[in-house]
């Protein structure tokens, strides 16, 4: 299985490391978080891990922003976006995830006047008050018809892949669309736990904790604890379950 082959790669290890750091920061108050401090070095693998985790790398800033550290992290994000733009044949998930990282950077790390002088690369002109020499990253318009049309198993799988977009104030249209399919996501959660697909279950759980009408019978809180433990505390699962705890409710509806 391709996925298993990837589990031992350098990228998977980097993704796990960053996920672990984000989850720890979310467990605390997030006020001493710096993405740049999590990356051993800003190499291609680290940036790829940032791109894989998407908006979640900035999740601690959604709890409490820190403009001083933020400007460095904003540049890290821009490099990751520049290094791994969605290709011509990129999936909707890739496009959405990319867009989520763009939106998270804008929402959680708003640019300040200080950015022009503390940029790591220094020099250059600020086109829009942003990082020196950096263009605003393009914002792809990925398709969203699937939110209405996907059968529930595919919907839950895709929603889980995009769990990072459940962070507050990102992709409001997606959140509203998924909120209309709470029962389908609940079915997806049940199926994912049955299949021992802990990552999918945890990701779906993040949307469900925000849903306005999640049925009590689902036992979601106990389910997320169960998933976390059964996964053997897989860093990506822990990131999802921790985020589910830290960002309950509060959707844009």
């Amino acid at each position: 299985m391709a996925e298993q082959a990837q589990q031992n790669s350098a990228l998977s290890a980097a993704v796990a490391d960053v996920a672990n750091g984000v989850a720890l920061a979310l467990d605390g108050e997030g006020d001493s978080y710096a993405l740049s401090a999590l990356l051993a070095q800003e190499d291609t693998v680290a940036l790829a891990a940032v791109r894989v985790l998407g908006a979640d790398v900035l999740a601690p800033y959604a709890l409490r922003g820190d403009p001083a550290r933020g400007s460095t992290d904003r540049q890290v994000v821009r490099r990751a976006l520049a290094a791994y733009p969605p290709g011509a044949d990129a999936s909707d998930v890739s496009l959405w995830s990319y867009r989520g990282l763009v939106e998270a950077s804008r929402a959680f790390l708003p640019e300040t006047g200080a950015d022009g002088v503390d940029g790591a690369d220094g020099g250059g002109r600020d086109g829009e008050g942003g990082e020196p020499g950096a263009e605003r990253p393009p914002e792809p318009r990925p398709g969203d018809a699937w939110v209405q049309t996907d059968p529930w198993p595919a919907l839950a799988h895709r929603a889980s892949q995009l769990a990072a977009l459940s962070l507050p104030s990102l992709a409001p249209a997606l959140a509203v669309g998924l909120a209309a399919r709470t029962d389908d996501l609940a079915r997806g959660f049940v199926r994912a736990v049955r299949r021992r697909d802990w990552l999918q279950a945890a990701g779906v759980g993040r949307w469900l904790v925000r849903a306005p009408d999640v049925p009590d019978s689902l036992g979601l809180a106990a389910g997320l604890v169960f998933v976390r433990r059964m996964s053997g505390s897989d860093p990506r699962v822990v990131l999802h379950t921790t985020a589910a705890q830290r960002f309950p409710g509060g959707g844009p509806w």
Partner: protein, 307 residues
């Protein structure tokens, strides 16, 4: 999500019934079974299940003339040949006066018009004791026993609502904890509560909602595992809901698992080997296929099928 066509639903049962008819002699208890008494309940179980199926077919009335002829022949076979006109059940009751087993098997046959006064008297004797009501058993089975009493016109020896509350489904726990044996507990609670699908409206609305919400997840999962025996039972549960889905994709996969002779494997592909052993493995899922088909065909013609 689209509903399966009545033709597909019907075909599964038609073929299953043909297999059951062709193998009706395999249901017979051997002289050795009777002499030793060993495994007699195990051997009687398929006979009782066959009786339940004939009752369902007679009730749902969707069988068509060929199916009707087969089911009459099979019913006659069950009562006269396999159960010796009920004498076998009466003998069992005499050996074990407090056993609920004869009643559980007799109930469907009684509804189909067969009578054994001696057996009924022996059942009455057991029911007159406090012990009968105190018998320890799994909650789903208690529900089934109360239903069996009602089927033969007796006042149930306990409260159905309390029996339901003691089942797994009655408490509606976390749906993601469901495993194989819990899933069978769920299907049996629905079977007994609804009198094998005769009275779907006996499922309380909150339980019907719970099932409508989570049944698709369980169904999809055991379909993926190719567990046809449980999938068939889950398809019966769907057909017992106020708005059954009769989901085409599930029914197509289920139908595709059926052998050309109508047999349904428990899981995966058809077993091979000794005829008797193969029968032991096939009779249950094939009976379930006949049951599921009868229920679903009937509901597809009458119910408000979910979109």
């Amino acid at each position: 999500m689209t509903a399966a066509s009545p033709a597909l639903l019907h075909r599964v049962g038609d073929r299953a019934l043909a297999w059951l008819d062709a193998h009706r002699e395999h249901f017979r208890l051997t002289d050795e079974d009777l002499a030793t008494g060993r495994g007699i309940v195990e051997r009687l179980k398929p006979v009782g299940e066959l009786a339940v199926n004939m009752r369902v077919l007679a009730r749902e009335g969707v069988a068509g003339s060929r199916q009707h002829d087969i089911s009459v022949r099979l019913l006659d076979h069950v009562w006269r040949d396999l159960l010796d006109g009920g004498n076998l059940l009466a003998e069992l009751q005499h050996q074990e006066p407090l056993s609920p087993v004869p009643l559980e098997i007799y109930a469907s046959l009684h509804e189909l018009g067969h009578r054994h006064p001696g057996l009924e008297s022996a059942i009455g004797l057991a029911r007159g004791t406090a012990s009968w009501r105190a018998l320890e058993m799994m909650p789903t089975r208690r529900l089934g026993l109360l239903n069996a009493e009602r089927k033969i016109g007796l006042v149930p020896s306990g409260d159905t609502g309390r029996a339901l509350a003691a089942t797994w489904l009655g408490r509606m726990p976390e749906p993601w904890t469901v495993q194989l044996h819990i899933a069978y507990d769920i299907t049996h609670t629905v079977f007994h509560l609804t009198d094998w699908g005769a009275a779907p409206d006996r499922v309380p609305p909150e339980i019907a909602d719970y099932l409508a919400r989570y049944l698709p997840a369980w169904t999809a999962d055991w379909a993926e595992l190719e567990h046809w025996d449980l999938l068939g039972e889950l398809l019966v549960v769907d057909a017992c809901l106020p708005r059954p889905t009769l989901e085409a994709e599930m029914w197509e996969r289920y139908a595709a698992a059926q052998g050309p002779d109508g047999a349904m494997p428990v899981q995966g592909t058809m077993p091979v080997g000794d005829r008797g052993e193969v029968f032991d493995q096939l009779h249950h899922p094939t009976l379930v296929a006949a049951f599921a088909s009868a229920m679903a065909t009937s509901r597809s013609l009458s119910a408000d099928v979910a979109a």
